[in-house]
């Protein structure tokens, strides 16, 4: 049963002392519960998007050898609140030349398109607003609503910068939808279902049960999906629609105040959504190592709540880790040119992701699950993943140590300054 119906029934039984099956107002209570759930999701987005914007600025500061915002509140943790309030108090301008209805409606579409994805995100073992049986298709469809919003903003502003930004973002989002859909197709092949909870349930808690480590093609598909998702989220190095140095700010250039904030808000939330999709489709989602979903469902009372909370935490940790990767990529890679962007998608990502689909399909037909070959494959892939992590850690350490010698010679001080030590 859906968690929302569950909560509504609980409410009706305990507060109204009625039988939910025959009570005439059941639908009303359910609607209210859905509204509250949506509001909670909104609060989650707000509370997430805000601080992450601050964290990103701090990380960007450290990567660029500076400090970052640290004035509002202790170490600047309230910077995002100050920014939000500032935007709220700003005048709402509509250019005289703009197409007014399009201009005013665009933020609604962008925000709704972003927010709709939350309906099917599997947060925890039983926590998903609606476990649609076409979940993945729904995700692909609803996120394209953002394109419509961006095009409307770009066209409706009647500004050349905004128009270029809008058209670029449409071309980009539309192109990168193809590789991301192919990569998710690999996931669907392995899971045998389109439902998001079903995909998580088809994986397991341990890394060798995750889809990413199932076989080499899935491993590659994860990175292909992640690249395409970054592009769909308009993030550097694919942030051409809002390339400041080329087209000032792109589609949102004519927006001010709160309307502008909603664009930014949707962008931040989109990072989290794509990280969450990667986490549940490839990295095992909320699965707790060593405990099966059925065992969780069988528990009662506080034990049940505890397991739920643990599964939430696991999911959030995975998604947040990917968000940090996205942030770091942004401050590592330079922006692509338009032609490079299109070539990357159509000449590299699309053929490669098709190849992955084919590979996963063939392996699925040839290698029976749970057999010896399957086990060896999974073990090898987990080993490969560990090797990637280890090698990158060693590389980081080496880069650091080489420069530390130089720094000590020049400054007479130690270069070591860990991220948790705030200036």
């Amino acid at each position: 049963m859906n968690i929302i119906q569950h909560v509504a029934n609980l409410l009706i039984r305990s507060v109204f002392h009625a039988d939910p099956a025959s009570w005439p107002w059941t639908w009303l209570v359910q609607a209210v519960v859905i509204g509250i759930a949506a509001f909670l999701a909104f609060a989650f987005v707000a509370i997430f998007a805000g601080p992450v914007s601050w964290i990103e600025r701090r990380i960007a500061g450290r990567i660029q050898s500076r400090i970052g915002p640290n004035r509002v509140g202790p170490q600047g943790v309230l910077q995002w609140l100050a920014d939000g309030v500032k935007c709220w108090l700003k005048e709402d301008l509509v250019p005289a030349a703009a197409d007014r209805p399009l201009f005013l409606a665009a933020p609604y579409l962008v925000f709704t398109g972003m927010f709709g994805a939350f309906v099917v995100l599997p947060f925890g073992a039983q926590v998903v607003a609606a476990d649609l049986n076409v979940g993945i298709l729904y995700l692909l469809a609803i996120t394209s609503l953002v394109v419509v919003g961006l095009l409307m903003a770009g066209w409706g502003s009647n500004s050349k910068w905004a128009l270029f930004g809008g058209v670029r973002s449409a071309a980009q989002l539309v192109s990168y939808e193809v590789p991301s859909a192919f990569s998710l197709l690999c996931v669907v092949l392995l899971a045998g279902t389109l439902s998001t909870q079903g995909i998580v349930a088809a994986q397991g808690g341990w890394p060798w049960d995750w889809f990413i480590f199932r076989n080499p093609f899935m491993f590659a598909a994860f990175f292909l999906y992640f690249t395409a998702a970054i592009a769909e989220g308009n993030r550097t190095p694919f942030d051409l629609p809002e390339a400041e140095s080329e087209i000032v700010a792109g589609y949102n250039i004519e927006y001010s105040g709160m309307r502008f904030l909603f664009f930014l808000f949707a962008e931040w939330a989109n990072i989290w959504i794509m990280a969450a999709i990667s986490a549940f489709a490839f990295l095992g989602g909320w699965q707790i190592p060593g405990i099966a979903p059925e065992q969780i469902a069988a528990t009662k009372g506080w034990e049940f709540v505890g397991w739920q909370a643990l599964s939430w935490t696991i999911f959030l940790v995975k998604a947040t880790f990917l968000v940090f990767v996205v942030i770091q990529i942004r401050w590592t890679l330079p922006r692509l040119r338009v032609d490079q962007l299109m070539i990357t998608c159509w000449k590299y990502l699309v053929p490669l992701s098709m190849l992955m689909v084919l590979g996963v399909l063939v392996l699925l037909a040839l290698v029976p699950e749970g057999g010896g070959a399957d086990t060896i494959l999974r073990g090898a892939m987990v080993g490969l993943g560990l090797a990637v992590v280890l090698v990158s850690a060693l590389r980081v350490r080496r880069t650091f140590r080489v420069d530390r010698e130089h720094y000590r010679e020049m400054e007479g001080r130690d270069l070591w300054y860990p991220p948790y030590r705030l200036p």
Partner: protein, 133 residues
């Protein structure tokens, strides 16, 4: 299943309502001092020349066309992919493999065609090679 889609609908409505409320509440907080300068279109401080509603690069259009073909195909492939596991377990692996390979083959042919025609290159001489008189 109907209930689930009601949830989707209500979620979408709620998000639109939240945006609406935030913008409406802001009305009481923000100043409103319209002026002709503020209402003009931003063009880095210059006076805008003409409207922005002009014809833009048709290459965007080509990509959109290619995308539509691809996306429709992918949407059709999803159901086949969703049942692939079950059919393989039931011993009809060849059927589902053949089906998906057929879908992919159509797309590969399309991609090869577009690639070969050079439609994927952004920097392209649209006028073709110049001929010496």
């Amino acid at each position: 299943m109907g209930f689930e889609f009601v949830v989707v609908l209500l979620f979408l409505t709620t998000s639109a309502v939240i945006v609406g409320i935030a913008l409406w509440l802001g009305r009481f907080l923000r100043p409103r001092l319209p002026s002709a300068e503020k209402a003009s279109t931003y063009e880095c401080g210059e006076r805008p020349i003409g409207s922005a509603w002009f014809n833009f690069n048709p290459r965007f259009y080509l990509f959109a066309l290619v995308f539509i073909v691809f996306d429709a195909e992918i949407a059709l492939t999803y159901p086949a992919a969703a049942v692939a596991r079950r059919w393989i377990a039931e011993g009809r692996a060849w059927l589902v493999v053949a089906e998906i390979v057929l879908f992919l083959a159509i797309l590969v042919a399309a991609l090869a065609y577009v690639w070969g025609k050079g439609e994927l290159d952004w920097n392209r001489d649209l006028a073709g090679p110049e001929e010496m008189p």
